[in-house]
């Protein structure tokens, strides 16, 4: 077994000693973009049945209602707010993606920090810095074990996310290096979440629980509740127990120089990122040629291997399953010109017109195709064959969502939850999170008035 340095303590020490002044401006800007995107998703998802049911379950046990729940009028304790925000921010599968690891970074970290800010006196800068550090921690840990860890069946947003939440909250609580090391240990020993849960409410439970468990871990560590000092690198710790392979240098190299949040991306479509190139290509052909379902004989996709592995559901029965069906996604994108949340409503997934086109979609794996690439070929009833090669899907690092794109996405997600006026106000808050004196305003202002 390889002999390794004090990986966990090195990471903890970095988080404790990091200074906001040393964070480059483009990194800060990307963090604001991540927060805007996260807040929109959480507000948009806040009325989902998964959130309603979770709230009903935890409310009888919840404590002092110090915190808002994004997009809702109920107030609840900080820990449960973290859980509920985490669920709502991920339930549409519309949140951000760190493409190197498929981690959705904002969920576990922001879902914990925003409600905590309603309990503590904390500035927008402190919150933003803790957010950047939390994302750094979870993504570096993800880098160290991806893809072996994910391949086994772990939902990495939950398993790595809990470390990020603990680190971010620990930073805000002012933990010392020993306490931060323990916080990572207590977080790690709660690391959990199976990919088997994809397609059920438990998928969004994972980032919610990661946020909540990380919050708890940091508060326990603050009370000197002890854990191992070597949760990442020990033979019976995270890196060896939960992954068939690991490279701990990914955790510790270039700390403070390279920021993983710079690699964050945002979804234009409300489904698994791996389907985006195919949807993108389908919409380009539809718009370029004025296509309707009736004109189409068949659709052939050539896609990366992960597409069928993750989203190969041939006959989704409900909305959540539709997100794991490349067939539904492409069909509905042709019919409606979009793949937003409403394209994954239960009654859209079971719409006979959608199903009729869905059944004419074929997908073939091509191992030479990258994850953000796809070939879409549509055969029309008149015999024509239309082809579209998507080199990099919209929302990828090479074709990022612009700030305007993010604003449009945010405002559309707020529809039906907040008034247009309030949505604009909340948007402005998050864009200027670094200028806000009292960060409690960020969560509180999302409560529908």
């Amino acid at each position: 077994m390889q002999e390794v340095e004090a990986v966990t303590r090195t990471l903890a020490s970095y988080v404790v000693n990091a200074r906001y002044a040393d964070v480059p401006v483009p990194v800060r800007d990307e963090a604001l973009r991540s927060l805007v995107n996260w807040a929109g998703c959480a507000i948009g998802g806040s009325r989902h049945e998964a959130v309603n049911r979770a709230l009903a379950a935890v409310r009888p046990f919840s404590g002092t209602p110090e915190s808002s729940i994004l997009g809702r009028t109920e107030r609840i304790d900080v820990l449960n707010s973290a859980l509920l925000n985490g669920i709502s921010s991920h339930v549409f599968d519309f949140d951000d993606t760190h493409l190197k690891t498929i981690i959705h970074p904002a969920g576990p970290v922001a879902s914990a920090l925003i409600p905590l800010a309603e309990r503590l006196p904390i500035t927008g800068v402190e919150l933003l810095h803790a957010f950047i550090l939390g994302v750094e921690v979870e993504c570096r840990i993800g880098n160290a074990v991806y893809p072996a860890h994910y391949d086994i069946g772990w939902h990495i947003t939950g398993t790595a996310g809990v470390f990020g939440a603990a680190a971010a909250v620990g930073k805000v609580l002012g933990l010392d290096v020993q306490q931060m090391t323990w916080a990572l240990g207590i977080a790690g020993t709660q690391s959990s979440g199976f990919r088997e849960m994809f397609g059920t409410m438990c998928k969004s439970f994972h980032p919610g629980r990661a946020a909540q468990n990380g919050l708890l871990a940091a508060h326990l560590a603050k009370q000197n509740f002890t854990s191992s000092d070597r949760v990442l690198e020990a033979p019976r710790g995270f890196g060896f127990v939960m992954s068939a392979d690991r490279d701990f240098s990914e955790v510790t190299k270039n700390l403070g120089e390279q920021f993983e949040i710079s690699l964050n991306t945002y979804k234009p479509f409300a489904c698994g990122i791996v389907i985006h190139p195919a949807i993108d290509g389908a919409i380009q052909l539809r718009n370029g040629h004025g296509l309707t379902a009736e004109m189409i004989e068949s659709i052939k996709l050539r896609v990366a291997p992960l597409v069928l592995e993750l989203t190969g559901k041939r006959t989704p029965r409900v909305g959540l399953e539709g997100k794991f069906s490349v067939f539904h996604s492409v069909a509905v994108a042709i019919i409606r010109g979009a793949a937003g949340e409403s394209e994954y409503a239960d009654d859209v997934v079971t719409d006979p017109n959608v199903i009729a086109l869905r059944d004419r979609v074929d997908a073939h794996v091509d191992r030479g195709i990258r994850d953000d690439e796809a070939h879409v070929s549509i055969t029309l009833k008149d015999g024509r064959v239309l082809e579209q090669h998507v080199e990099h899907a919209l929302g990828s690092l090479e074709r990022p969502m612009s700030n305007d794109d993010l604003e449009r996405k945010f405002l559309r997600l707020c529809e039906g939850v907040l008034s247009a006026q309030q949505a604009q106000r909340v948007l402005a808050n998050f864009w200027s999170a670094d200028l806000i004196k009292d960060a409690s305003e960020l969560g509180r202002a999302t409560v529908p008035v």
Copy 2:
């Protein structure tokens, strides 16, 4: 990959449909013994610093104080009471052991049920039956993956325990088969806990968190929060993700005929079960020959392989580490004739006299020796060599603790926490748990008056 039947649903269906009338009397009696032993451990551990620190951390977020914490005067919400009871019941490493899996079965299950009974109207029989079923579920799941799962580094009391807590609470909540299946799924996707944490406060955090997470899982399922129906058997579920090997027939065979709680055992010594044969042998030699430390030149142990793997700490620095040192355990047992909780106090572990004898203890692994067996050989300064072969340690299935042994252990654990009179009353309560009309009495009566 092997094709498997609906393992999770079969187990859920059994739990939902099981009737107390079908539980054989000896099984009920063993369940009462398990509860008595658990309650003593939880009361005894209730003043431990790990409990104090955890309570300080969770209190600001805790909800309606509906439940007692065993052995303490504070009241707290049900979920946090489960966490704290689970910590206190395991923090002395003095609780019960299902030897086939090294699961400590009562902790995750009873720690959840006892505080829940203060919230619900529930009879002693309902509680006892749910307890039996919870233990059944966790131990069967443990049987299916042990030892491969444990060997990887998972603390099986936490990882399997969460299923037991969910099943027990789900039974009390009256979940239907679908909901019970979801409860197991929500529990499983929280399954966690590294063996790396042994020797730190996180070890006892595991059963506490298992109790709390299982409780939460059952309440979420009651609200129809969905999960996979196949958490145990799916390729990306518990059996494949968290173990290198598994036999699902262990989960489903002879359900309702064979009860795992019948295989429960109780510790006479306040440390890891694998050291018990060596301690037992050392105490037998001490008492048989009136030995003192000064008479002893050296002690040689021949032990099972697990002993040095789990408890090979040569130089423990604090009490918790002492429990993972066969060297300290044998030395202190010779000096004090016991290995109760007080023999693992910090100042005993660092006592120069104990250390002096500890340094004269050697242990050698013999692959031919069973886990509950040991050879102890003591060379005296006068040249004599004393030998003791322990075939089955006290507390093993072959040499079980008697009810009187359990009572003595219980009362000693209550010393300093409850008055002798109150301890007797609590003991009587737990012995007659099946006769109690209002099960809330079980937890409430442990509050020091």
